[in-house]
């Protein structure tokens, strides 16, 4: 039962354009959402997060949007740069998990930013 879904395994975008990565979740008790970025042979690194009390959070070129009614979040990268080429994981958590900051991850989207 995949509670966090990233239905696009890959995405290709031209440099300078907008990248939009999507994520859907099924468990309405998730109340905190995160995006992680992963380069090959490295561990994931935290990118940006959003609490369920907000619908948008922005950090530089990265913006995360949350639509609670649709159980959907998206990550926008503007403008996209070649260094953004990586796998992006969506993750979710909530108090119902019993603490310990346990994250449920999606399967990832491979972003390729082309020159």
């Amino acid at each position: 039962d995949q509670q966090v879904k990233q239905n696009s395994p890959s995405l290709s975008v031209q440099e300078g354009r907008i990248s939009i990565l999507n994520c859907d979740y099924t468990n309405s008790m998730f109340d905190y959402f995160l995006w992680y970025k992963k380069y090959p042979a490295e561990g994931p690194t935290f990118l940006i997060s959003i609490s369920s009390i907000k619908d948008k959070n922005e950090d530089g070129r990265f913006t995360v949007f949350l639509n609670k009614s649709a159980k959907h979040l998206s990550l926008h990268i503007v403008p996209s740069q070649p260094g953004d080429s990586a796998v992006y994981f969506c993750a979710a958590t909530g108090a119902f998990t019993g603490g310990g900051n346990k994250l449920t991850f999606g399967t990832g989207t491979q972003l390729k930013v082309e020159l």
């Binding site: 042979a41 994931p44 935290f46 449920t104 990832g108």
Partner: protein, 114 residues
Amino acid sequence: NAGVTQTPKFRILKIGQSMTLQCAQDMNHNYMYWYRQDPGMGLKLIYYSVGAGITDKGEVPNGYNVSRSTTEDFPLRLELAAPSQTSVYFCASSYGGGNTGELFFGEGSRLTVL
């Protein structure tokens, strides 16, 4: 800053062998985690710890054991390795257990069981 350090980075095991994946963090984090990532899949939580002496199961704990004798170290033990345990293992840590979100990950340990 070393952050989260995992050893070994690569290992090949024969079926039935045992081994320990080491994880150490130097950030004085209370919370530590072990995840595994299979090809085309997201990371799945194996075990986690909220402090020295306290551990608990995650989503996929079968075939693994952990211990947490110090704040810094969180080794993962594989007993009787099976091909299904072929995966990339990531250790992570975080300061708190609330919705702080930010887990710090090690570089991963790639394990193959033949």
